[in-house]
């Protein structure tokens, strides 16, 4: 049965058991991925899936339920569960079904050209990459992990207030890691590329980058424990920012779980930091024209020259604060209840060349990767202490690779200690949001090593 027909049946049955406004959210996803090993295909995965969630207002409270068995037989249970769930909600904030925004931006996040790339081309790309890295340097010992994956997904929202939105998108990802070995040491390095333009997957360039990085790290050692000026390279800075994006959510602010509470209009970062959330970037992973409540998304300046300009809102938090919603209502697939998440969220590019930033360091470290962010960084307190690797810099020159160190500090202090911003914006591993940063020069952070 088509979703549009199923939805009518659900709304009809829902009305009968006492629901007022109702909404369904249908997300379907077609996925392909493959891995290679020893120049042939190691694994090959395909999937076609979809899930439907229902939410409805019963006695002024919103009840949620979902099913992956999307057919008529699921209607009764879906409604029964949602009604039960609505009846226990105690939070008095009003969660509403949204009739629609006056205007929606047009952003094309579905590339027909990308959708037409053949499976053979995708597999060949990965094989080429695996072969290329081995040709570049004889110290390349093995490929540790490799993956090509693409998604084609469709989001639909229909509700009884007349909203009817459909958005289709696709995206492709390559993730690749390898191990290099010499007589004394072995080191790994990885690379990630996310795009909806297949030509962006330049395997020769990717191979060179990942091999160079791993080779450069051979022989890395810990440095003496003390405070150093730190150049946090773009993707490392982005992954750190990603860990703390929750602080910008109005929900966390209202719930007393963000240290940015009462900081609107105040300086929370150094003047050279501007943070933007832009859902309308054609080539970025988290672009969307409407959020999970159907609200039109818009570009949003979150921090401007260090000053906190806004939190990220959904309808409920905006109503509570008496502000305009920012289009950041987010539900984690069809299985989640309503919360808040950024889209393409990044520190704006500065005007410093990366090499100039390195040259400006008298004695310090370049940090290229942070590990264990899910454990060693506390999203609420801002404290972090993380395993890291990178390079030791003396008089503006890279002297040696560094590992087995931890880097520790507090995210809120770090934002204020940014001395210079690079012009090399790049993005971290995608999650529900796509978070980016240029390289950041930090005045000092505590390093623990020898």
């Amino acid at each position: 049965m088509e979703i549009r027909d199923l939805k009518e049946k659900i709304f009809e049955a829902g009305k009968e058991i006492g629901f007022e406004d109702m909404e369904i959210n249908y997300i379907s996803n077609k996925k392909f991925n493959c891995k290679v090993f020893d120049n042939s295909i190691d694994s090959y995965n395909i999937s076609v899936e979809g899930g439907l969630s229902f939410r409805g207002v019963f006695n002024n409270k919103m009840g949620y339920s979902y099913t992956e068995k999307v057919d008529e037989t699921s209607i009764e249970l879906l409604l029964k569960k949602a009604k039960e769930n609505a009846q226990v909600i105690e939070n008095d904030d009003i969660e509403e079904i949204f009739p629609g925004s006056p205007v929606y931006e047009k952003v094309d996040i579905f590339s027909q050209e990308f959708a037409e790339v053949s499976i053979e081309e995708k597999m060949q790309l990965l094989i080429n990459l695996s072969q290329k890295v081995k040709m570049l340097d004889k110290r390349v010992d093995k490929v540790l992990f490799n993956l090509y994956e693409d998604h084609e997904s469709t989001r639909m929202i229909f509700n009884t207030k007349g909203l009817s939105k459909v958005e289709k998108g696709n995206i492709g990802i390559i993730y690749f890691s390898l191990l290099v070995k010499d007589s004394k040491d072995s080191k790994s390095s990885d690379i990630l590329k996310v795009t909806r333009d297949f030509k962006d997957f330049n395997y020769e360039e990717m191979a060179k980058r990942v091999v160079d990085e791993a080779i450069n790290l051979l022989g890395a050692e810990a440095v003496k424990s003390k405070e150093y000026p730190i150049l946090l390279r773009n993707t490392a800075a982005a992954s750190l920012l990603q860990t703390f994006i929750g602080a910008f959510s109005a929900e966390n602010v209202q719930q007393g779980r963000s240290l940015l509470k009462n900081k609107l209009g105040e300086a929370i970062a150094s003047h050279n930091i501007t943070i933007i959330d832009n859902p309308h970037m054609k080539d970025k992973m988290a672009s969307r024209t409407f959020d999970s409540e159907g609200v039109a998304t818009k570009k949003c300046i979150v921090v401007e020259e260090g000053l906190l300009k806004t939190y990220l809102h959904n309808l409920k938090t905006a109503k509570k604060d008496g502000v305009t919603p920012t289009g950041h209502g987010y539900r984690n697939s069809y299985k989640g209840t309503l919360s808040i998440a950024p889209t393409n969220f990044f520190i704006e590019t500065g005007d410093n060349e990366y090499d100039d930033l390195v040259a400006s360091i008298k004695e310090g470290l370049i940090i290229i990767e942070l590990e264990g962010l899910h454990a060693g960084a506390n999203g609420i307190s801002g404290d972090f202490s993380l395993a890291a690797k990178g390079y030791y810099v003396k008089n503006g020159k890279i002297e040696k690779p560094v590992n087995h160190i931890t880097i520790a500090g507090n995210f809120y202090d770090l934002l204020k200690d940014v001395e210079a911003v690079g012009n090399d914006l790049d993005f971290a591993f995608p999650s529900e949001s796509y978070v980016g940063s240029p390289s950041l020069l930090i005045s000092k952070l505590a390093i623990s090593g020898d």
Partner: protein
């Protein structure tokens, strides 16, 4: 769960292009999750996960397809699409299912679906109130409740046809303590392969007070010093050190392609004599336990390291082929959306001979990690990191003032040799372990142990 005849047809179709093995995994799972914030029910959602995974193996190559369009036509179509990845002559494998039955070792007395939401919420409220009342410094309490009732069926071209039902319940308590300019959190999340009876057997208030106590203690803690110290890691979730530093490196996922520092080391000494480590999926009602794994193999007690000698790995069917070894009942996956691979169940360091008092008393100047946070490892190099949630300095054999922001880093194989005391107080903690085949419930465990030297990363140089 799915018609036997249809499964037969799917497997036959899957093998039509020359695959030598095919498997159907059916999953039907009911879930409920509730969030209580500041004592009020904030959100709740319940739902049904339902879908089918089809795997085809040819030699060392594997193809995986999944869908939740489960009508016969769609299933046959996806089986046929998956099979297209192989282009050989069919191997004419005769299908003959042998329905396997067994007695579940995990007795469930109160299935979540028979318990009203209000009962679940009242347990959460008890926890929330207890944490809030602990101290004036507790400014926010979030309590999460999760239950799931997962039914699976595994059928394969070797004739396996077997089902399992896994019921799990968990409560997650997070307390935030704050003063005028800082916030710290404490967390406790007990769970088990049990129904609602779990919450009648454990005292959720005690767990809640413990979460609150951690938050308040950390709010008033000093910054952790940096450098190399002897570190005493207490029991329960402290077992995450073994899980991260070594456990992942003993999974066939990494061993089969020799992407682990522990590859080709069976029979070698990999740890100090006092270390024995085990992965046991059969402990009744434990969080990481299952009757059969997600490839239909019975779980078992696998000795990984015995008195310092590497004895075995955790192996799934596909990686077992590459290694020329049998499955150890370790094939696991988050859901039908993932192909299975070797994973941990309940993994722990066995109890030793020292009392906790002896271990602390014999440590002149070090760090005591009372509760651990999570961590991660690079299995290829063995380098790991993990966070200390609640830590203390040890001075002259006594636990001294609390410290915060400590991270422990090191190298798995090195650390194993540096375990120089193992305590008597073995206990477990519950976690969700993320890896190639998704996020799965895993128990970690150990008695108190001491590592003679480990790099501690803090914010205070010393």
């Amino acid at each position: 769960m799915l018609n036997e005849r249809l499964i037969e047809n799917i497997i036959t179709e899957a093998l039509s292009t020359g695959g030598d093995f095919a498997e159907v995994f059916v999953e039907d799972k009911d879930t409920t999750s509730i969030k209580l914030l500041g004592g009020k029910v904030e959100s709740t959602i319940s739902g049904r996960d339902y879908g089918i995974g089809i795997r085809i193996i040819n030699g060392f190559n594997s193809i995986y397809a999944y869908t939740n369009k489960t009508d016969a036509e769609s299933l046959m179509k996806i089986a046929s699409e998956a099979a297209k990845a192989i282009k050989e002559n069919p191997k004419n494998i005769a299908l003959n299912f042998m329905n396997e039955t067994y007695n579940s070792i995990h007795n469930i007395t109160k299935y979540p679906k028979n318990i009203g939401l209000s009962n679940k919420i009242s347990v959460m409220r008890e926890a929330s109130d207890a944490a809030k009342k602990y101290s004036k410094e507790i400014t926010q309490v979030t309590v999460g409740y999760l239950d799931e009732d997962q039914k699976i069926l595994v059928a394969n071209s070797e004739g396996k046809f077997v089902e399992d039902r896994r019921v799990r319940s968990r409560i997650l308590i997070e307390a935030v303590a704050a003063n005028s300019n800082e916030m710290q959190t404490g967390y406790f999340a007990p769970g088990a392969h049990k129904g609602f009876e779990l919450f009648e057997e454990i005292n959720v208030k005690e767990y809640a007070r413990e979460a609150a106590r951690i938050a308040v203690t950390m709010l008033n803690a000093d910054l952790c010093p940096s450098g190399k110290f002897p570190v005493v890691i207490d029991n329960k979730f402290g077992g995450v050190i073994f899980h991260e530093a070594c456990g992942h490196g003993l999974e066939a996922t990494f061993i089969a392609k020799k992407n682990s520092v522990f590859a080709d080391k069976i029979g070698e000494k990999v740890a100090s004599d006092i270390v024995t480590a085990i992965d046991d999926g059969t402990i009744p009602n434990h969080w990481g336990s299952i009757n059969i794994d997600d490839e239909g193999e019975k779980t078992r007690k696998n000795i990984l390291i015995e008195n310092g000698i590497l004895k075995g790995y955790m192996i799934d069917k596909l990686n077992g082929r590459r290694m020329g070894m049998e499955s150890t009942g370790s094939g696991r996956r988050q859901s039908y959306k993932y192909a299975p691979t070797s994973r941990m169940t309940n993994t722990y360091i066995a109890a030793g001979k020292s009392t906790p008092e002896e271990i602390i008393g014999n440590t002149e100047n070090g760090i005591y990690a009372k509760y651990m946070g999570g961590g991660s490892v690079n299995p290829a190099t063995g380098d790991f990191n993990f966070a200390v949630m609640e830590g203390y300095l040890i001075k002259k054999g006594k636990i001294d003032r609390p410290i915060r922001g400590a991270t422990l880093i090191g190298n798995g194989p090195n650390i194993l040799h540096k375990i120089d005391m193992v305590g008597t107080n073995l206990d477990y903690g519950q976690g969700m372990c993320g890896s190639v085949s998704g996020l799965i419930p895993a128990n970690v465990g150990q008695p108190m142990i001491r590592v003679s030297e480990i790099t501690v990363g803090g914010r205070k140089g010393e």
